[in-house]
Amino acid sequence: MSGGLYVHALDMAVGALLLAGVLALWRRDLAAIVRLFAVQGAALAALVAVLGLHEGHAATVALAAGILVLRAAVLPLMLRRAMLAGGAFRETEPLVNVASSLVAAALLALLSFAVTRPVVELAPSPATRAVPVALTVVLLGFFVLVTRRRALSQVAGFLMMDNGITAVAFLTTTGVPFIVELGMSLDVLLAVLVLQILTSRIRDVFGDSDLDDLRELHD
């Protein structure tokens, strides 16, 4: 892959990753959040594929295909099934309203640019220059996890955080050992399975999946 095309493709992929994260903060329709998560997974797969093509690592490209299947198809489908079973399609009022969330997202982006400056300076390259964006995605996912009430959007937040972590890993190292990535993906899959079961249990007990109802369990 030639130099100019590589940088453009990389920037596109990272931009899509970030945009999907920010939009997830804005939308309150659960179906839309799941779709955004699928888009983000595809963007992550594209990012890994671009890196792999640039480096010429066949294994990394194969890994990108795996990521595409898991994060753009399997996990969104599972989330969708959980949503349909749950019967609640809209996020209730989040703890922080949408406007403030977007401002917070901007601040988090500033923070991650400030924090990762030494990393970028260490080895300036198109890949490392994208690291702040990936860290922003991590923080955005965390923010979604903290501020949303529905169990489903929290799971989506958790998974977006993990997308960000994977992106940071690939951008900084260009080539995570295959076994590590495999273990991480398995972890994520397992976590989602557990969360899905938990969500349905919470719904069975409380008739709703608003996590703040769990406070009743506190003695």
Binding site: L111, S112, F142, F143, T147, L211, L214, H218
Partner: protein
Amino acid sequence: MTNPTGAAFCAALALGLLAAAAAALPRRVRPAAVGGATAAAGAAAVAAGLSAMAGRPWSAWLPDLLPLAGVRLAVDPLGGLFIAVTGAVAVCAAVYAAGYSRPGRDGPDAGHGLDGGHGLDGRAVQAMLPLFVLAMLLVPAAASVTTFLLAWELMAITSLLLVVAEHRRRASVGEAGLWYAVMTHLGLVAILAGLAGFAAASHGESFDRLREAADGLPPAVRSAVFVATLAGFASKAGIVPLHVWLPRAHPEAPSHVSALMSAAMVNMGVYGIVRVGLDLLGGGPAWWWLIVLAAGAVSALYGILQAVVATDLKRLLAYSTCENMGLVLVGVGAAGLLSVSGARTMAALALTAAMLHVVNHAGFKTLLFLAAGSVLRATGTRDLDALGGLRSPMPATTALFGVGALMASALPPGSAFVSEWLLLQSLVHALPEGGTVAAVTMPVAVAVVALSAGLAIAAFTKAFGVGFLARPRGAGAERAHESPPAMIAGMVLAAAGCVVAALAPGLIADGLSRAVGVAAAVAGPAADPVTGPVVLRPAGMPSTMSPLLITVALLVAAVVLIGVLRAAAAGRARRRARPWDCGAGPASARMEYTATSFAEPLVRVFDDVLAPDTDLDVTPVEESAYLIDSVRYRTEVADRVEHRLYRPVLAAARWTGRAARPLANGSVHRYVGYGFYAFTAMLIVLAVTR
């Protein structure tokens, strides 16, 4: 694999895994299969250890077994000594366990198999036993920090699961398990911190790399590593004030597990101190060894005092473990101290004495715990006050416990005598060579060793005399019956080992000097520290001693004495009479010495140290102050260190927990939010400070 050490060690590991797999067999054959395979693993380990001590070290590097670090194993003479001891204890305990784990068909202990498959012959408990032995074999064989810590943690977890094996039968087991779990993991944290710091400072984690780098490290790092690892290892060895788990966990564990823990696992603490302090770090300043010596001396005295006043048979043995590990640390500390002042021959002798005491203690403590388990199984109680009169229903157990008690008290035919004699020799003769510090500490150490040896005799006289002789004082003791043959076989093996160690300690003198030679700080003298198969000759001093000749002389004297008495009595007529009872009627079991009354004079003497809690309730007859209706006397000697040192810490922890409760209000968002805010705050700090 032409190396015999490696072949035997690998065979031990394979047999141990086989034994763990045998736990899947049906319940009927399970105890025998697991016990047999574990005993075979132990025997192979003894062969491996002895072969390493004979000067055939072995090492292996398995890079693929563990991601990132790999597994490094090396069996040198020092590790071989501990492997051999562990293997020997495992043989006795495993043979014994084959009988002990079976559900008792009669007697008060018959409930073994009835509590829903959770008895000692349950699948999980049976699988843990060989895994525990395996972990204890791997600890002295580990040759890198990760391998060592992994084996150490495996040892901690398997032993913890074995301690709580009987948690459904007694509530106190759970509490003991909790204490043990907390203490052993705090110890692990200390060891982890110390060794990780050591590895980071030396840029490598194999023991060879650490040994090379140790000399170049700054003194502060060396001291931090030593103090951190010492704290962790001392807590495993049951050294006061980190001993609190030991007198709880050892009595509550099933008896063969008590034997394994008390005779083999606590040794790993000593191994760690010797390996890190004297080998990897290659010795250090005098204050390190003064701490070791002082901790050893305190624990020897405190342990034996608590043992003297204990009324629980297994608790008594557990405190005796504290005492013996204390004596071993006195030897190790003296060795380190003497090596600082350049008296290497003496240092090697002190370390040899300590290692010999490890071997001897393992022998007699295995025997004593196994015999105590036999009593517990037969009578259902560990309370010495309720025992007694076991000689005729349990002749074999009584005789074997007697042998163990004799070996444990530092009197001539016993094995503890040999090692304590050597220890005293090294301490006494260290004076001219040791410098000022030694001139002050050694006499104190000699006094401590002598006093604890004396009190040990009182403790074991009490355990044997009050526990086994006279008449039964409780219902359990009246119903006692002899244990099954497998248990007796295990005890006989242990007793045979003790007798060999007591009569011919010179047999392992060569191996011991090779083991001591591994410790870089004390290695160097050309002559072996102790020589001679029959007559022990400590190097560099005029004294010699032969346990075999002393025993023969004692036997001859005893035979002559008995012969003379028989001859003198032969001429007179025999008459049967009741013992003198002040005219109060036939002497009953209530008039016997109990454990409490036997220890009472000593409790008075050491009143200030033990601080017993005594209650005297006198109830007079109604309307009369002078006629007494009943008197109740109750005395209890609690562990004072635990009360003074641990209760306040526990109270503080509980208070902090309660004070922090408002932080956790049940909202999941808040919990996740804590993580988010802490993470962002950390990033902001990072962004501002860089």
